[in-house]
């Protein structure tokens, strides 16, 4: 299970600041509780080390279908946020409590992608769901690091996730 290699970096670059490429927002638009990561280090899983994050909760087939996760649907209870930063893929369970963010997002008092990076740079990011059917459903749903990524970035991100040892990785935007 590798750290990023030159091969990966070539197609993932450049490292991007949060919201870089977003026509409406800049890093200053990050809200209270969205910039820090010190509180969450213990929960951030380095995908380079092994397969499942410590907060691993699989999606059942019923949940997969009910929330249309395989077609890009959202299910925060079992959603894992991922980013590929300068060294490897980092993963955290979305429902990890974030009391400081509650002040600005009372509807979402849990972590977001910039709580993984400490609002630093990353190549790309999105969501992933580990399903009971052994598939891992991956999308690029992150306005900070994912939605403006190029197709080349996305293809290499999936390649890198597979190179880390994750099996049956499925891009949800190919299931639409």
């Amino acid at each position: 299970m590798p750290r990023l290699t030159e091969f990966h970096i070539k197609s993932l670059q450049p490292l991007k600041s949060p919201f870089e490429g977003n026509p409406r927002k800049i890093a200053d638009d990050l809200l209270e509780g969205e910039k820090h990561n010190d509180e969450f280090i213990q929960f951030i899983h380095d995908g380079y080390e092994d397969k499942h994050p410590q907060q691993f909760v699989p999606v059942s087939i019923e949940e997969l279908e009910k929330h249309n996760i395989h077609k890009g649907g959202k299910y925060p209870e079992k959603c894992f946020l991922w980013v590929i930063d300068e060294s490897s893929i980092k993963i955290i369970w979305e429902k990890t409590p974030n009391e400081r963010r509650k002040a600005s997002r009372p509807d979402r008092p849990y972590v977001c992608h910039t709580n993984i990076t400490g609002s630093g740079k990353a190549y790309i990011g999105g969501e992933m769901y580990f399903c009971d059917n052994d598939n891992i459903y991956v999308n690029f749903s992150s306005d900070r690091y994912g939605t403006t990524a190029s197709e080349e970035n996305k293809i290499m991100a999936i390649q890198y996730i597979k190179d880390c040892g994750y099996k049956n990785v499925i891009r949800t935007d190919e299931n639409i």
Partner: protein
């Protein structure tokens, strides 16, 4: 029908201390709004000038003048709990975490008592905000998690609304559909509407078009927020989103793969998405690149 007066409790041991009030024993019980206003107008609040300003804003607000709000101060949580025991119940509590020699266990216990014994919404308002999540991320608070929020005193980097501006709009919003709020120090005439059910829903606009853009647009619409001006603010953005009725899906144009796989779709402006769906859906599609309807 007369609307019930809402009780706002502020618990903080750093109200300015003046001899006249000490002699009268005013700090030993509930401090009336008149006395809080006297302190706010005449005394030096040192590091608490944002709270001082908040008290002035509440007391000079229309809902307060109309008798819809009652503001009371306490220097110790035990005083507040004693009033709660006598069924003098708050609707909103602004709760300082630290009292004298810091004892987080006591602060946690008092907060829990307030939450348990009232239906109040509690703003945990502290200078040491960053140290508090371990005390609040506990199972015992889970059941009350929708009734409290943690704020750093005087924080100006929180969102389009400064901390005290957020608390002010929350308090005024529980009494009226139309009132004056503050955004970055500016007075804003706010009226609840089909897009913004609460003044704090302005945070959706903050997240949709970004803070700088929103501040510019609020200036352009003359510091008035209502249905018409929200539409103007949304129309100021010229981007389009794609809607596939067949797939019941909204997506952003950057989603090349989705675009390739979708034969028919309609282009919608931000305003059209908000009209046809909601601001929340608009936010979701911008945040995730795709939203299933």
């Amino acid at each position: 029908m007369k609307i019930k007066e809402k009780n706002i409790f502020i618990i903080d041991d750093e109200f300015p201390i003046i001899k006249e009030f000490v002699d009268l024993g005013i700090y030993e019980a509930a401090i009336s709004s008149e006395n809080l206003y006297h302190l706010a107008l005449n005394e030096n609040w040192r590091f608490l000038h944002d709270l001082q300003q908040l008290i002035k804003e509440i007391i000079t607000s229309e809902p307060f003048k109309e008798g819809l709000l009652n503001l009371v101060g306490f220097t110790k949580p035990e005083q507040c709990l004693s009033q709660i025991d006598k069924m003098f119940l708050p609707d909103v509590v602004i709760y300082d975490w630290q009292y004298g020699i810091v004892n987080d266990i006591d602060s946690q216990k008092w907060l829990l008592e307030i939450l348990k014994n009232t239906n109040a919404f509690v703003f945990v308002y502290s200078k040491v905000r960053d140290e508090l999540p371990p005390f609040l991320n506990k199972k015992v608070f889970n059941v009350y998690s929708e009734r409290f929020q943690l704020f750093l005193k005087g924080n100006k980097n929180y969102s389009i609304l400064y901390v005290e501006e957020f608390i002010l709009q929350f308090i005024l919003g529980i009494t009226s559909d139309s009132f004056k709020i503050k955004i970055h120090g500016f007075d804003i005439e706010f009226t609840k509407n089909q897009y913004l059910k609460e003044a704090s829903d302005i945070l959706y606009l903050d997240r949709i078009i970004g803070r700088r853009n929103l501040l510019d647009e609020i200036r352009k619409v003359g510091f008035i927020i209502n249905k018409e001006t929200v539409e103007k603010i949304l129309e100021s953005n010229k981007e389009v989103l794609f809607y596939s009725k067949e797939k019941q899906m909204l997506f952003t144009p950057e989603n090349e793969n989705v675009l390739k796989k979708t034969s028919s779709y309609q282009k919608l402006t931000f305003k059209q998405v908000a009209e046809m769906f909601t601001l929340q859906i608009l936010e979701e599609v911008l945040e995730r690149g795709l939203a299933l309807i």
